[in-house]
């Protein structure tokens, strides 16, 4: 599986098929047990790799948002650039406010995560990852925990990101969305990639029976 810069990849498959594990390996949250992952010259599978260095380049958004509950939306976005990259506060704040505006949460800067809806929290989480200026963004079922009406706003944010040329790797169950934004779709089952291809070919002419079965259940 090769991913080019600026590409949007969707990974789909039944639960327990290793989708999340795969993308969690990309920023070394899980250890690579076998095989290799190379990201812009970093050997992610190398146990001696400086994980912190790698993670500065890889943003990740989780299913449960995982915002820091004791910090406001703005502080959540500012925290990593301030503490990890040690950038000057004034600069970071300008960038953080711009990011919050970008995810359409202007006016919610001083709200605490508990005061925001799931969709809003998830967009703050996206802004928080973007604040590190990552080269790749990983999305781990980011809409799975959301109310249906807030899913749209999060997907829209991701779509804009993709249009801006951000390299995105998404694990998702939103088939319509995957078909719309993805450059390439991968279908995994029981830890292996069963089938992959461009969205239209993949959804319309799946060749593997397992893919057909899965799509038949979902669509």
């Amino acid at each position: 599986m090769d991913i080019m810069k600026g590409e949007v990849i969707c990974i789909i498959g039944p639960s327990g098929s290793g989708k999340s594990t795969l993308i969690r390996c990309i920023n070394a949250l899980n250890d690579v047990q076998q095989g290799t992952i190379t990201l812009e010259g970093y050997d992610v599978h190398d146990p001696k790799l400086d994980k912190l260095e790698l993670r500065r380049k890889v943003g990740m958004v989780f299913q449960q948002y995982n915002l820091f509950p004791h910090k406001t939306a703005l502080e959540n976005v500012m925290m990593a650039p301030l503490k990890v990259l040690k950038e000057p506060k004034a600069e970071v704040e300008v960038r953080a406010r711009a990011l919050i505006k970008k995810v359409r949460l202007e006016g919610k800067e001083n709200a605490y995560p508990g005061e925001l809806s799931g969709g809003q929290q998830q967009r703050v989480a996206i802004a928080r990852s973007l604040a590190m200026n990552p080269n790749v963004m990983l999305f781990d079922e980011v809409t799975a925990a959301l109310d249906p009406e807030t899913v749209k706003e999060v997907l829209l944010t991701i779509k804009e990101l993709a249009t801006d040329g951000m390299t995105c790797i998404l694990v998702t169950h939103e088939m319509g969305f995957a078909r719309e934004v993805a450059d390439h779709i991968y279908f995994t089952d029981k830890g292996v990639i069963v089938e992959h291809g461009a969205p239209d070919t993949f959804f319309d002419n799946a060749s593997d029976p397992r893919t057909k079965k899965f799509l038949g259940q979902i669509l």
Partner: protein
């Protein structure tokens, strides 16, 4: 409370599953549950005591009242104030050491983790009096720092002795609080390239700070009530002074209840509001999470 269904039966299986482990606030819960009038009732009992014993001793009520009035100011300014001072410094020392020890309990270095575990196990449930004796009798009465001798007053040694069990218990509060933060918080911070130390001090501990306050105050109340232990080692505090005052007044048995009764009342009066506050904070933080 999310679970608010009114169960049609009171069968145990119908009740929501709740954890019934050791109560982190046991002491304050007990103390705070006392009615506010417990204090005047206690004071009243001590006051009428002299009248009751009047018939049996040579000491008249007026005489006992006079003796008490004479000693009370000293008992408070030189006696109980020392208990408060000892409790403050013990808490200060115990909290700093306990915080570091608690963080050591969740360290990713197994030697630090093992060492912290050992220290906590050693001091958490040892008899306080034994610890006090060991510290009081082994610590030198003066310490040499850069050529000059600093004398270590007795009450300071008592602080060292008392802060050992406090340290171990606060370490457990800290460890429990850290582990109560969902691991997803760690992952989120890790994915933002925070180091382990940054995650702990900047993200995890600030979140559980509030959770630690009520059990921390519970230990303060327990320890304050235990400060008279140091009178056994000759440290000047309320109980030591009370004993000396009674001796000066001829050791008449009819003085025992007024003097020790006063000690009970003043400890109660000091710790009762702390216990009430602890329970209030517990309720408040439980709602906000």
């Amino acid at each position: 409370m999310t679970h608010s269904s009114t169960a049609p039966t009171d069968l145990p299986v119908m009740l929501p599953a709740t954890y019934r482990g050791p109560d982190a606030l046991g002491y304050c819960r007990w103390l705070a549950a006392m009615p506010v009038w417990a204090l005047p009732v206690m004071a009243g009992l001590v006051l009428i005591w002299p009248t009751l014993v009047h018939a049996q001793t040579v000491y008249s009520t007026e005489k006992i009242m006079g003796i008490m009035a004479k000693w009370l100011p000293l008992l408070i300014t030189k006696g109980f104030s020392m208990n408060v001072v000892i409790s403050f410094f013990t808490m200060l020392l115990g909290t700093i050491a306990g915080l570091l020890l608690g963080v050591g309990r969740v360290s990713d270095n197994r030697y630090i983790r093992g060492f912290s575990w050992l220290v906590v196990q050693l001091f958490r449930n040892s008899p306080w009096l034994v610890l006090l004796f060991i510290v009081m009798l082994t610590l030198p009465f003066e310490i040499r720092v850069a050529g000059t001798y600093f004398s270590v007053p007795d009450w300071m040694k008592a602080v060292f002795g008392l802060s050992l069990p406090i340290m171990a218990n606060i370490a457990e509060i800290v460890r429990g609080a850290i582990q109560s933060v969902p691991s997803a918080q760690w992952e989120a911070a890790e994915s933002l390239a925070f180091t382990r130390r940054q995650i702990l001090w900047q993200i995890i501990l600030p979140q559980c700070f509030k959770r630690m306050i009520p059990p921390w105050m519970n230990w303060y109340a327990i320890m304050t009530m235990a400060t008279p232990l140091v009178s056994l080692l000759g440290v000047t505090e309320l109980v030591t002074l009370s004993r000396q005052a009674m001796e000066a007044e001829g050791n008449n048995p009819s003085l025992l209840v007024p003097f020790y009764g006063f000690a009970l009342i003043i400890f109660f009066a000091y710790c009762y509001p702390i216990a009430r506050l602890t329970m209030r904070l517990e309720k408040k933080f439980a709602v906000k999470g």
